[in-house]
């Protein structure tokens, strides 16, 4: 249905208009289904669980035994994430974070087969072993660079600000208030 051109890019088949027509790789058994017609259909699709923590790890999180992260830490994380502090349910966030931490702790305790490296930088989704790049491959890659208009790489092939809520003379507009006045 859609062409795969790159090893590590998830393609947008038919351009941006069909963004919702498939699910990302991390969701496992992705397949192409019917085209979505409304936002509600997309929301319903994304909210439908396709896997669960329990299924994979057999965990059973008891909320009353969780150690909650301190309120100050939650506020710091909200600030770091550029999220507002006012009008948010700090307790709910504490509980969500506690569950996530509990999950991460479980992940850390899973025995890993064939573990050859304990380096932090090897903790990743991409393969640890990749093909070595030699000089000929490098020169070939430099020589055969190609722009793809389907993903906007050809200059002027699409209007970047066309999807923006606000733009001015071809620029994206950022309200100062978004960057400042953030408590």
């Amino acid at each position: 249905m859609f062409r795969t051109r790159w090893i590590c890019r998830i393609q947008i088949a038919g351009g941006i208009n069909r963004l919702g027509s498939y699910r990302l790789a991390s969701t496992g058994g992705a397949k192409i289904g019917k085209k979505f017609e409304t936002m509600d259909q997309i929301k319903a699709y994304l909210s439908e669980p396709v896997w669960s923590v329990h299924e994979y790890l057999g965990t059973n999180v008891e909320e009353n035994t969780l150690r909650l992260p301190p309120v100050e830490l939650v506020k710091k994380l909200l600030r770091l994430s550029g999220l507002p502090l006012e009008g948010v349910d700090i307790e709910a966030i504490q509980m969500q974070l506690a569950k996530q931490l509990s999950f991460v702790n479980r992940l850390h305790n899973i025995p890993v087969e064939d573990r050859t490296s304990v380096e932090g930088y090897d903790a990743r989704l991409m393969p640890r072993q990749t093909t070595k790049l030699n000089y000929r491959m490098l020169l070939d890659a430099v020589k055969h660079q190609k722009q793809d208009a389907d993903i906007g790489e050809v200059s002027g092939s699409w209007t970047a600000t066309g999807l923006a809520a606000e733009s001015k003379n071809g620029y994206f507009v950022v309200r100062e208030g978004l960057l400042k006045n953030r408590k």
């Binding site: 790159w6 090893i7 590590c8 890019r9 998830i10 947008i12 941006i16 963004l19 990302l24 770091l80 994430s81 550029g82 932090g120 930088y121 903790a123 990743r124 989704l125 991409m126 393969p127 640890r128 990749t130 093909t131 070595k132 790049l133 030699n134 000089y135 000929r136 490098l138 020169l139 890659a141 430099v142 660079q145 190609k146 722009q147 793809d148 993903i151 906007g152 790489e153 050809v154 200059s155 002027g156 970047a160 600000t161 999807l163 001015k168 003379n169 071809g170 620029y171 994206f172 507009v173 950022v174 309200r175 100062e176 978004l178 960057l179």
Partner: protein, 541 residues
């Protein structure tokens, strides 16, 4: 008016303060640099959209792919050309290239950073180590030689550009993402600089190096090269200086900050120097941007979408074999025999100033070397090195600029062999320097008038004959006497003659000789005139 004058005097006192900064041995300056250099790869770092980061004429957001503006679902694909460029720079600095390096995410929120993070190399950068050698001979520093060691080189993506507008009622930021995802190399030096001259020399040398390797325009003014300074005095905490748009800002900011810290230390007010802080440059002073309490936690993490850069050993030898000779080696070659160029002239042939449309330094150096060898063949090994230098670097370039004829075009009528023949005519005094200037200009002007189309090689003997440019070897004594008497009558008075003859104003003789050279169009040698004027005026000194 009074108010204006007051502002002016304040501004002046600040400038004077910066300029008069004295570096004292009891307050030891320790400096390191972080330099971001935009790579001029054809395309961007993690997409194939056009890398056109600096041209001011570009339409905003014109060179942006879905990835560059961070549309959801898009992912990076690494442009390997950045490896080639980074490898060239690493090898030229003698840095140790990591055979496995990786990309990491540095998180922070800003309008011109649509992903919410910058892809950089934090845990395993592209290269570590290496050095830049500065010397008194080539770089004008005080020490005879000084190595500035390199901590690391990392590849990373640039952000977009923010334009701040304030219409009075509304403050908005206009964001242009043409620069978003343009490849950068960040070079971090160790804190090895101990004075301003070294910093200045390093920036100039590094700027020339990236231009020499054709990996960046290296321009500070356009932001293609951006320099941050880390500075500390007497082992107090490090202060990072940012927003330094050009060399004079860098130098003045260091001077100002040094002075500020020295004053704090000498008054014993060192509390603020115990923790690192980041300061910006306003144009006349440094101001605090961030301290330890407000340090950004970047939450670095390995990028989960980009594979490691895993290099085969042959890549280093392959790139090394394709490297050009490095600027310091070229400079030393030009300053030694047989060329014996001055530092200034050697720099003209080695340093790319990006400021002349008529020639580039590489083409000019090639032209100079070829002409030099042709000329040496014509006159044997004992030839004068000064002739090719003066006539190519000064006279010829001057004509090209004046007539706006590019060097590559001019070479069609004056290839190295013809220029060497022209130099031989000067060397053998077949034509005088003045006639030589006329002849060279005439050849280039005629070529220019043809729209740089008539590229017939000039027949030098024919032109010399046609315009009677040959030097007069046997001067008619009577004719010379008449000419000199005319000059004395036209250009002197009694006091002039008295001062000249008495030796009180010996330079007046040069003036008279100059008039003679002018009237004879340089065809009669200066020495002949000097002899005759002395004879007529009975000058005994």
């Amino acid at each position: 008016m009074l108010r204006f004058a007051r502002c002016y005097s304040l501004a002046r006192s600040k400038a004077t303060q910066v300029q008069s900064t004295v570096f004292k041995p009891e307050y030891a300056l320790k400096c390191g640099l972080e330099i971001h250099t935009q790579l001029n790869t054809g395309n961007k770092l993690f997409s194939q959209s056009t890398n056109s980061a600096t041209p001011l004429a570009d339409v905003p957001n014109h060179h942006t792919s879905f990835y560059d503006v961070a549309l959801p679902g898009t992912q990076p694909v690494f442009n390997l050309e950045a490896i080639l460029f980074a490898m060239k720079l690493s090898l030229s600095l003698n840095s140790q290239v990591n055979m496995v390096s990786q990309f990491d995410r540095k998180h922070y929120f800003y309008g011109d950073q649509p992903q919410g993070y910058q892809v950089t190399q934090h845990y395993r950068p592209f290269a570590r180590g290496g050095k830049v050698n500065l010397s008194r001979e080539l770089d004008g520093i005080d020490e005879s030689s000084k190595d500035i060691s390199i901590a690391q080189l990392q590849i990373e993506q640039d952000t977009g550009k923010s334009h701040y507008t304030d219409t009075g009622k509304d403050v908005v930021t206009l964001v242009d993402l043409n620069r978003s995802n343009v490849p950068l190399i960040e070079l971090v030096t160790n804190p090895d600089f101990s004075d301003i001259k070294q910093v200045k020399a390093f920036i100039k040398k590094y700027q020339n190096l990236v231009r020499h390797l054709h990996i960046s325009s290296g321009d500070l003014e356009t932001g293609a090269m951006r320099v941050d300074v880390n500075l500390s005095i007497n082992e107090f905490a490090r202060v990072e200086l940012k927003n330094l748009p050009n060399t004079s800002s860098i130098i003045n900011a260091i001077k100002y900050e040094y002075q500020r810290q020295v004053e704090l230390i000498s008054r014993g007010e060192t509390d603020s120097l115990l923790e690192p802080e980041t300061r910006g440059w306003t144009g006349s002073s440094t101001v605090k941007l961030r301290s330890k309490e407000t340090t950004i936690d970047y939450r670095y993490m390995p990028d989960p979408e980009l594979p490691y850069i895993n290099l085969a050993p042959d890549i280093i030898s392959g790139v090394a074999a394709s490297m050009p000779e490095l600027p310091d080696d070229i400079m030393r070659m030009l300053m030694q025999k047989p060329f014996q160029l001055s530092l200034k002239d050697a720099k003209i042939l080695t340093y790319n100033s990006n400021q002349n449309d008529m020639y580039n330094h590489e083409a000019l150096r090639s032209y100079y070397l070829k002409t030099f060898h042709e000329f040496s063949k014509l006159i044997g090994k004992q030839g004068s090195a000064k002739l090719p230098t003066n006539w190519i670097i000064h006279e010829f370039l001057g004509d090209l600029n004046k007539l706006q004829v590019p060097l590559d075009k001019a070479q069609e009528v004056l290839p190295p062999a013809v220029f060497a023949e022209f130099l031989r005519l000067l060397y053998t005094e077949t034509i005088s320097p003045t006639s030589g200037k006329l002849l060279l200009f005439y050849i280039l002007e005629t070529f220019k008038q043809s729209g740089c189309q008539d590229s017939f090689l000039p027949d030098l003997p024919k032109l010399i004959k046609e315009f009677e440019l040959h030097a007069i070897t046997e001067v008619d004594s009577q004719e010379l006497m008449t000419l000199c008497n005319d000059i004395i009558a036209q250009h002197t008075d009694e006091a002039f003659i008295r001062n000249l003859v008495s030796g009180k104003k010996k330079t007046s003789l040069k003036f008279l000789v100059g008039q003679g050279m002018r009237q004879s169009q340089g065809r009669i040698k200066a020495g002949e005139f000097e002899k005759k004027f002395k004879e007529i005026l009975d000058i005994q000194w």
